[in-house]
């Protein structure tokens, strides 16, 4: 240990610099992401939930990234017979016809 230390004498600061640069480049991009996704998820679901009923566990949110663009995909599975109502007339409930919702609808934001 002390011999190893002796051999490296005069050189540990550049290692510190390199480690920090790599770590911080990673942390700077990572730190803003979890917050953003959580906020987006909550707000998107709140908006959609006002109009369509769905099961929260059947929602998938994915972020994919290539060189020039990022895509945020929100998959919400709406069961057959899912209901919606007009926000302006909360008592006039409408039922989705199977034609509209027999498949999994996908929003790409």
């Amino acid at each position: 240990m002390s011999l190893f230390h002796f051999l490296r004498r005069g050189g540990s600061a550049p290692i510190a610099r390199e480690r920090l640069q790599i770590l911080l480049a990673h942390e700077r991009t990572a730190s803003s992401q979890p917050d953003l996704l959580a906020v987006l998820r909550e707000e998107i679901l709140a908006v959609i939930g006002r109009h369509v009923s769905f099961e929260p566990e059947k929602v998938q949110i994915k972020v994919s990234r290539d060189k020039s663009t990022s895509t945020l995909a929100v998959d919400i599975e709406i069961p057959n017979g899912g209901r919606t109502f007009d926000a302006a007339h909360p008592h006039s409930r409408l039922t989705f016809s199977p034609r509209n919702v027999s498949r999994t609808d996908q929003w790409v934001v």
């Binding site: 004498r9 005069g10 730190s31």
Partner: protein
């Protein structure tokens, strides 16, 4: 309105708050230093006012005391004031609204309102930086301190009142515990590397020195206890830079003779 912050503990926030506050007050400015480290207050101790604290920041926020009752005037400098933290365990007592009220009341009365942030990135730290116009990020030339400073810079750019208004808190790095012989030997991160990694301008370089502990032992800011010592001179220069003066950056190893040799030998 200035916040002294760092993320990491033990890097010298409280020492720097006391030293810069005293240096600014010594130069004729009216200064108040506020301890935001609720539950673990120490600024009063470093300033030598621990036995005079009757009311604290939380008392003012709760309306138990008026601001004028809680402000302690320094015994050495008549335009230096202290607002102590409380010893209560209840950190929730520090409310956003309460802090805003205290800050707004102090701002017009003082040239400098200096907040000593607690370590970490929790409530106390975010509230201390909340209303800052300028932030001093105290950093040791060492990996964990630099990493935590980077986190704090991220918070300053997103969670402060200025950031939310789309403005920018002015950020300045204060390097403390700098040891030039070790940097020369490649054992300690050079200043330029730290500044490049954090991409912020430098406010000053405070050399590692026994004077810092000697001053805190007797309860006096290092700038008052021994104004000619190396760290005190570095703090005085930093304080003048804060006021907008252009002082050439002082690298401790170059311009100090026997004191430097003394420090170098002791720690080698």
């Amino acid at each position: 309105m200035l916040v002294v912050t760092s993320g990491k503990g033990g890097v010298g926030k409280t020492t720097s708050t006391a030293a810069l506050g005293a240096a600014l007050a010594h130069g004729g400015q009216k200064v108040v230093v506020i301890d935001f480290d609720i539950g673990l207050r120490n600024l009063d101790l470093v300033m030598g006012a621990e036995r005079r604290v009757v009311f604290d920041l939380i008392n003012v926020i709760n309306g138990v005391a008026k601001l004028s009752q809680a402000l302690l005037r320094d015994r050495r400098l008549e335009n230096l004031y202290l607002l102590a933290a409380s010893q209560t365990r209840d950190k929730d007592a520090l409310t956003e609204e309460g802090v805003a009220n205290v800050v707004e009341e102090l701002r017009p009365k003082f040239d400098w309102v200096i907040c000593d942030s607690p370590a970490g990135i929790e409530r106390g730290a975010t509230l201390a930086m909340r209303h800052a116009d300028v932030a001093i990020i105290v950093t040791n030339p060492e990996v964990s301190s630099v990493r935590d400073s980077d986190r704090i810079i991220g918070l300053l750019d997103s969670k402060t009142a200025k950031a939310e208004r789309g403005e920018c808190v002015e950020k300045k790095i204060l390097i403390t515990r700098y040891h030039s012989p070790r940097t020369a030997r490649g054992e300690m991160l050079p200043i330029d590397d730290v500044l490049e990694i954090l991409s912020c301008p430098l406010l000053g370089i405070i050399p590692e020195s026994q004077e810092v502990m000697r001053a805190s032992n007797v309860g006096s800011p290092v700038t008052l206890n021994n104004a000619l010592s190396a760290p005190a001179r570095a703090y005085f220069d930093a304080a003048r830079r804060l006021k907008g003066e252009h002082i050439p950056m002082y690298v401790p190893s170059e311009s100090r003779g026997f004191l430097n040799a003394l420090f170098g030998r002791r720690a080698a």
